[in-house]
């Protein structure tokens, strides 16, 4: 079984290598423009020292965009009964096909996340001190976040059976979760403004991903505890992954 799953992984990695240039360009444009505005334009409006704060969220934010792309591709594949259905006829249990996809999406997301680090250094330059970053925490946070979003993807696929539904899912669910999940503010900021809205923010998994990355880059002070964020993301991965897998299996009526 491992041999077959490795063959599936090799296929995905081969295609990833081929697509990486385009994926990297897309990610660099999004991350680069956001950072330039936050680090060099916003200070003119009085928002000082926001660049590094924003960089930390861009490390994980880029994974969200990639997951949206993968969601679209997977739903399109399912809708038109394409290659994915062939994979469900292979001599392995169906859950292992999904597990392989989750691992692949984690790797894919992690590569894009890591790519954002040198980009941030180039744009922020003196504002980003590489010696103060807790690298171990950062890589752990990025890996767990990528894994979480890969599992979350299964849940989204189970809720969108047509490509037109993906668009609605993005605007109605993913965008609010992302933007209100502290893409541009710390959880404490919103909690101090209104505790009830703060508690609501805890329902968004993005909150934990953003906060964990900020702790690794800026230190623990002013953010949710790092290990609580990791625990929530890992528990969320298991819960959403299992619910998502069961939903997709039921929707596609697989053995």
């Amino acid at each position: 079984m491992l041999k077959i799953l490795w063959a599936l992984m090799r296929t995905d990695l081969k295609l990833l290598v081929r697509q990486m240039k385009d994926k990297a360009i897309d990610a660099l444009i999004w991350g680069g423009i956001t950072l330039v505005v936050m680090a060099h334009v916003m200070p003119a409006l009085g928002l000082k020292g926001f660049g590094l704060f924003q960089a930390a969220t861009i490390f994980v934010g880029v994974v969200g965009f990639e997951i949206y792309n993968q969601l679209f591709l997977m739903v399109m594949n399912i809708e038109h009964r394409k290659h994915l259905f062939y994979l469900f006829t292979l001599p392995v249990p169906v859950w292992t096909v999904f597990a392989q996809k989750v691992v692949f999406y984690t790797i894919n997301g992690l590569i894009l996340s890591v790519l954002m680090i040198p980009l941030s250094k180039i744009i922020l330059w003196n504002q980003m001190d590489l010696t103060t970053i807790a690298w171990g925490h950062l890589f752990l946070a990025l890996t767990v976040t990528c894994f979480f979003f890969s599992c979350f993807l299964l849940l989204l696929v189970s809720r969108a059976q047509k490509t037109e539904q993906v668009e609605h899912l993005f605007m109605r669910l993913m965008f609010p979760l992302w933007f209100l999940g502290g893409f541009q503010f710390a959880w404490k900021t919103i909690y101090d403004l209104n505790p009830y809205v703060g508690y609501l923010g805890l329902l968004s998994p993005h909150t934990y991903a953003h906060e964990a990355a900020r702790v690794a880059v800026l230190g623990q002070n002013g953010f949710l505890p790092f290990w609580i964020c990791m625990t929530v993301l890992l528990v969320g991965s298991a819960v959403f992954g299992i619910i998502g897998y069961r939903g997709v299996k039921r929707n596609l009526d697989l053995v």
Binding site: T11, L15, P91, D253
Partner: protein
Amino acid sequence: MLIELQNITKIYPGNHRALNAVSVRFDTGEIVGLLGVNGSGKTTCSTILAGLHPPTSGDLLFQGKSALSDIANYRRHVGYCPQHPTLNEMLTVYDNLYFGGLYFGLTETKVKAAADRVISMFGLGDYLGKYPPMLSGGYQQRVMLARALIHDPQFIILDEPTVGLDPAIRKKLWDIILELKKLGKSILLTTHYLEEADILCDRICILDAGHILRIATKDELKSEHQQKDLEDIFMKLTAVEE
């Protein structure tokens, strides 16, 4: 007996009964033709046999044992060529075949030899570097068939394999199917072409609205209905039901 569908019923959401207590056996070295009008349950039957979708009730037996309890092992012995292209459009024709072999657990050496075998069988030599969307429907179908056979399965499911193929290629495919039969493979062929079923199949199973109207050899059918032409028998059987 290699494979048996035992009292298979399939009910889709909305209480749509696609198959109703269907029982068919597939012996070694036999071609069984599955005939029926659109919506008769042919594709549902082939997807259950491919181990893709589960039956609502009934069992799928492989060498006397339930295949559903060890579906991964069962799928190893099945080559499934569905109606719609399921090739990886981002891989070349060669890579589709190469990885298709690896996905069934073949070693690198075996997969290369197997790829060479199916490439020559289906005349794909000039198209190995092309991507599926660059190929005509007929050639995509050939690649699908080649991929379904690369791991040398015992049971082959061909769901309307000759739709859209030109007569010369269709004839060539018939020869390949007969060759596979000589090698002892069991084949399920779903088709709309009754002439094709007449030439290739040992037994014919006629499905209508999820029910089996009749399973018999061609000669039995012809003698029962006093007709020489399978098409007339098919029309008569399905018309009686309507």
